[in-house]
Amino acid sequence: MNFQVDQYFFREIDGLFDKTRLDPEMERLVRVSLNADCTNGEYFRWANLTLLSCECVGGELEDVLPGAIGMELFALASDIFDDIQDQDNEEMPWRQIPDAQAINLAICLLMLCEEAISAIPDNHLYREVAYSLHRTGIRAINGQFREFMYDSYKQVSFEQYFKMTEQKAGSLTACACKIGAILGKAETRVIQDMEQFGVILGILGQIINDLKDFLDFPKKNDFINNKKTLPNVYLLNTLQGEMAERFKDLTQKVSEGAYRIKDMDREYIKQLALEEGVVPYCTVMYEIYCQKAREILEEIPVPEINKEKLKRLVREIK
């Protein structure tokens, strides 16, 4: 993203290690896990989102640094817990160590997050940030809990899916935007708007992930685990008659472990996605949510120029 800003983030993290004196192997694990999913050199996406939100309301880098790093560590811990639960993303460093150690690593990251935000000098702002992170953790866990519950459901409504996604993915992005606004000393109404904008960013990210993983389902566990992703929910709710029965039957048998997916099933799913409009549907929902995000940004009473970077994330497609 921005080499100079990244250097500030790295320096803040070095400072954390100096203060906390972690076991050298644990410190190495934290370092290799940070940005491990970054493929194009754009590091610290969570810290950067927090920074963008702070800048949007008129704050500066030094105001937001401890909160931005706290957010980055918090989100990484969530990712690790998620991957252990889903047994997914095997190429990640935390999936190449025993699960027990990966759990240790994630707990350590949560503690480092607390340590990072404790550097916020203003006591009131510190409490606001800590409260936001804790509430986010609870909301995300509720979403995750719901997701696992739905694995065993034959049918999930769109309302249930979007509620779960708001909690699971939206809560984290909402937290990054909210912390940025808090540390940028925005007014309460602006903080709430930024939080709402963040919820939508999370939903957008989840729609992209769900579609990508559905189209790449031989490599992902979502289909095997009968995860109620958006493509899956769409098919379960729109297919009718014999087609609906065949799809439900296949997802159920695969998730129960009673059946191994064959090449012909892969072809069938691909064909289904194409003929029933899985991609257009996900694209429609993506663009509707982008529009909602733009409407929220429009209402935020800050100079237009401050919103530019956030607007680019949800730009209109002509």
Binding site: R45, L204, G205
Partner: protein, 66 residues
């Protein structure tokens, strides 16, 4: 937002683009004008591309939270 109405409209539109106008009329009350415009745009792009419309997120990984 009426999620089911959006899904049904997209589904019908993909299966039979000629019936989209009729469908739009019947779902009109359940959707707002912005939603209808998005659906029409995406389905038109899908038709032009021969069924290969894709989400076009901004060229930044910043959107890949979640």
């Amino acid at each position: 937002m009426n999620y089911a109405a959006i899904a049904n409209l997209v589904h019908e539109g993909v299966k039979n683009s000629k019936s989209l106008l009729t469908q739009l009329k019947s779902e009109e009350k359940k959707l707002n004008s912005n939603e209808i415009t998005v659906i029409q745009n995406v389905l038109a792009r899908n038709q032009v591309s021969g069924g290969t419309v894709a989400i076009e997120p901004p060229i930044t990984p910043l959107l890949y939270w979640g």
